[in-house]
Symmetry: C2
DNA sequence: TATTTTACATACCGACTGGTATGTTTTCCA
DNA sequence: TGGAAAACATACCAGTCGGTATGTAAAATA
């Protein structure tokens, strides 16, 4: 009977898949409404699960938020920045291309909802130390990736040798976040293009003459 | 009798002063906890007033939030940016000095809690159009002030003439916000100094040779 | 295969929080 | 000066939301 098959299918249990499902849904809600704006009921109805599942995998809302940072956001940075930059044979060009085409690479959501990392950091860093240290880890990694890309560009002669790559990576990351934030405030992809283009111009001016 | 004097004093009514008191307390709460994190009871206990007063001056929480943008935040930008830049006889130098000494000028809170304008814009722009348009007005003003300062610097020969001051003002504002945000994430004034110094270096490189 | 443990679902609670209804005291004005 | 309107205070309500207690079926284990 159909109902038997359906019920059987629905009762299949894949705990790690369920956990991941909750994490992804929570990530989306946090991205769109912030951590404080995220409602557990909404997360659950998005997954089709109930509170029993959620509180089996996570002790409380805060732990879920922490896990989103550690297991979703950190992986996102690794996938979208660490790997492409490490794989590139012309890291400065790749970095510049990323900044100049943020809208195309990351999708238009970036101008509507901003940067997922920065959003959460801005909201939670001052009021929850647990979030702050976890997000600081993400930024440490992200900044390190950019710094390494810049240092490689220096060694290959693309980037001026007198520059402090640590400070520069820091500034580039801050400026990217700032440009995305400005675009989000204005709700304008064009604003993001303009702002990114200025940062690109600046980086181009730092190439070896 | 003492009680008579006290009660008399407590019952003095200055409606516009009361309204302003609520606005300032609400601003502080929004600055520290965000709009969604602001609790009306906390605002009231900070002022010593009760709900009767609040709902006499504002129809609801949203209207209070809007009023904070229009009547507190807008005025803050005008006081801290519009006036100093307009009064300066060397606007580029003033702008650079501002950026290089954000911590000293605006106090250490800027590295702890971030920029009040950007905080609220990042939180509310995507989810409340009323906030977005009001904060967009603030940014329009702010950006215009910087643009005018840059244009004056151009006319006086301090700044390179081939630069688009609108785009530059936009980028400078975004980068400042980004630097403050990065410092807030790291909870580090030193981070703010470093990041600001990079932006200062960039602006210095744009002076006429 | 029997039994324990895991992985959920269901129902419910209590605190919080924005908002309202009503009362009371000033202040304003005719 | 007396009454109306403004400026508050007090008490209370209703919905929301994180969290819990309990039940039950699947999966692991022995």
């Amino acid at each position: 009977m159909n109902t038997v098959i359906e019920s059987k299918h629905r009762l299949e249990r894949k705990p790690d898949k369920t956990r991941r499902l909750i994490l992804e849904a929570a990530y989306q809600e946090i991205y769109h409404h912030g951590y404080q704006g995220m409602r557990l009921d909404v997360v659950l109805s998005a997954t089709g699960l109930t509170k029993g599942a959620l509180y089996h995998h996570f002790p409380n809302k805060q732990a879920l938020g922490y896990a989103v940072v550690d297991e979703v956001i950190y992986g996102l940075v690794q996938q979208l920045w660490t790997q492409p930059l490490a794989a590139s044979e012309e890291p400065l060009g790749t970095l510049i291309h990323f900044i100049g085409h943020i809208g195309e690479i990351f999708g238009p959501d970036i101008a509507t909802y901003g940067c997922p990392v920065n959003n959460l950091a801005q909201e939670m860093s001052p009021i929850d130390e647990g979030f702050r240290i976890r997000l600081d880890q993400v930024y440490l990694k992200w900044r390190g990736d950019i710094q390494q890309a810049l240092e490689r560009a220096q060694r290959s002669g693309d980037l001026r040798g007198d520059l402090n790559c640590g400070h520069l990576a820091n500034f580039v990351l801050a400026s990217i976040s700032g440009c995305i934030g400005a675009a989000k405030n204005a709700q304008s992809l064009e604003q993001l293009q303009n702002c990114g283009a200025m940062l690109v111009d600046y980086l181009q001016s730092l190439r070896t003459p």
